[in-house]
């Protein structure tokens, strides 16, 4: 096992990883930007190194500076958290070259899954169903048109280097393809440095269901069941839960088997998530793989009773998986709500500022992962996630009851938050009946 673990991240996820390190008796090292001098995650760690200016590219995306900090402070492992450098195969490779352990999958697996077209090809070859569409980048509008004619409209254009919904465009008819292609190409170029696009059939009202997988160096891969994450804005999740309500048994079995087969096919190690879209008849299609720890991993932890981050540390140290598939059981229901500094009444516009007051619930079946306290500054430079509220219980109904109560007992002042929206979701008949799909927000569900 390692001596010192550097966490190349901030906010709640840095604190979550530190907690796992402490559980294993490991020394913790924080890195932070100028803007985060007073941040909670800095005080949480045994030691901390300032790595640069407030903009992420000067600090949390500055791989060289982070490696330097690791060497200076004698860290022998780096956990990337999520976002920032977590899915940069170049960073993972640089960490390894520096003689430091990267706590995550091998660079090669990150690279394969980061190229979304290659991921489609690899998964399809492994027998995992993917949406009809292109298996190569489409060179131009004519190329996109040919594929679109084959698979039928509506289609969706996606960036090969994509993720997080950037550079995606729905196209309903051939006449719209030219403009949409140009716009998506420009957006992808600006965000990822490559404008490569591919085409997939667009599904109406699908559910987003994902499967947590975990692999070790010996080649064992297990799944840790599914998470339902359909309630999203801008293709980013707001509410996640497990088990997925009302998921047909055959779909669930198919999903988990496909996730394991896909991960095994690329020799996946450590924690990862296979994301799928599920259509109204229970058919499912591979969407992408997130080669890292997910924001919503606590849902799986509360359902299975297993600690994913401790397992990540152990697996990265070369230990075999601590649990066989048969011991990974959904023991109860858990639901997570993401509390962002965003104004739901203004289209989820970011709301930077200072948290003036923060009161959080506690009690049976409540878990909170927070990166802020009263007095914390919510900067324009980073993702606006303030905290995650997780409720669990023996049944989904019990988890919902606890969640509704916990949301009512949250008070955050100083910045606008998604709390009012989350309360409306949890009170809604659609959510309570598990009748959710990924386009609900755009269609005005849960409006005040």
């Amino acid at each position: 096992m390692f001596g010192t673990v550097l966490v190349a991240n901030r906010g709640e996820i840095a604190r979550r990883v530190f907690r796992a390190c402490r559980a294993l008796g490991l020394r913790t090292l924080a890195v932070y930007s100028e803007a985060d001098r007073g941040a909670l995650h800095v005080r949480d760690a045994d030691a901390a190194v300032e790595i640069g200016g407030a903009p992420a590219r000067e600090s949390y995306l500055n791989a060289e500076r982070i490696l330097e900090a690791a060497r200076e402070a004698g860290a022998d492992a780096i956990h990337p958290g999520y976002g920032f450098l977590s899915e940069s195969w170049r960073f993972a490779e640089a960490v390894q070259r520096a003689g430091i352990v990267f706590i995550g999958p091998r660079p090669d697996a990150i690279r394969k899954m980061g190229d979304k077209i290659q991921a489609r090809r690899l998964m399809s070859a492994a027998g995992v169903s993917v949406l009809p569409g292109s298996f190569d980048a489409v060179a131009d509008v004519a190329g996109a048109e040919a594929i679109a004619r084959e698979v039928g409209y509506p289609i969706i254009l996606k960036a090969a280097a994509g993720g997080g919904g950037i550079g995606m465009a729905r196209v309903d008819k051939p006449g719209d393809l030219g403009a949409a292609f140009a716009a998506a190409n420009r957006r992808a170029q600006a965000a990822f440095g490559t404008g490569e696009l591919y085409v997939e059939r667009y599904l109406e009202r699908p559910r987003h269901v994902e499967v947590q997988v975990f692999g070790d160096d010996a080649g064992t891969v297990v799944h840790m069941h599914e998470r339902e994450c359909s309630i999203q804005r801008r293709h980013q999740k707001l509410v996640e839960e497990s088990p997925a309500p009302g998921l047909p048994a055959a779909t669930k079995t198919g999903l988990t088997a496909a996730a394991v087969a896909g991960a095994r096919a690329i020799g996946y190690t450590n924690a990862g998530t296979m994301e799928f879209l599920v259509d109204e008849s229970g058919g499912f299609y591979f969407l992408e793989m997130n080669a890292r720890l997910q924001v919503e991993h606590p849902v799986t932890e509360e359902v299975t009773g297993l600690d994913l981050v401790v397992a990540q540390l152990r697996a990265a140290a070369g230990e075999p998986l601590p649990w066989p598939q048969s011991e990974i059981v959904q023991r109860r229901a858990a639901i997570e709500c993401r509390v962002y500094a965003e104004d739901p009444s203004k289209g989820f516009l970011p709301s930077p500022g200072t948290v003036q007051r923060l009161e959080l619930p506690s009690g049976d079946g409540i878990r909170i992962e927070s990166g802020v306290e009263a007095g914390s500054t919510v900067s324009v430079h980073y993702d606006p996630l303030l905290l995650k509220l997780i409720a669990y219980g023996a049944t989904r109904a019990k988890a919902i009851e606890r969640l509704a109560d916990a949301l009512d007992r949250c008070t955050i002042e100083g910045v606008r938050t998604t709390l009012p929206f989350l309360r409306r979701v949890v009170a809604s008949a659609e959510f309570r009946q598990g009748r959710v799909h990924t386009q609900m927000l755009e269609q005005g569900a849960f409006n005040a």
């Binding site: 970011p350 900067s379 324009v380 993702d383």
Partner: protein, 71 residues
């Protein structure tokens, strides 16, 4: 009548999408701000010509700051 276009949110100027003299329609993005990983266009409130851009790429602006002026 010149009209000031103000930022509706605190953020960093990500991209300047127009220049003085450009004609814009109501709702066109004059500049794009970045805040908390989101790109947020600051839109022209009415049609007109851009008279002046008051900010530079990379600059931090506060909510209510004037970012551009329409003729």
């Amino acid at each position: 009548m010149p009209e000031e276009i103000k930022a509706h949110i605190t953020g960093v100027v990500f991209q300047i999408t127009t220049k003085p003299g450009d004609r814009v329609a109501a709702g066109d993005a004059v500049i794009v701000l970045e805040s908390m990983k989101m790109e947020i266009p600051v839109e022209a409130p009415r049609a007109g010509a851009v008279k002046e851009i008051k900010v530079q790429e990379g600059q931090t602006v506060q909510e209510g700051d004037v970012v551009a002026v329409l003729e």
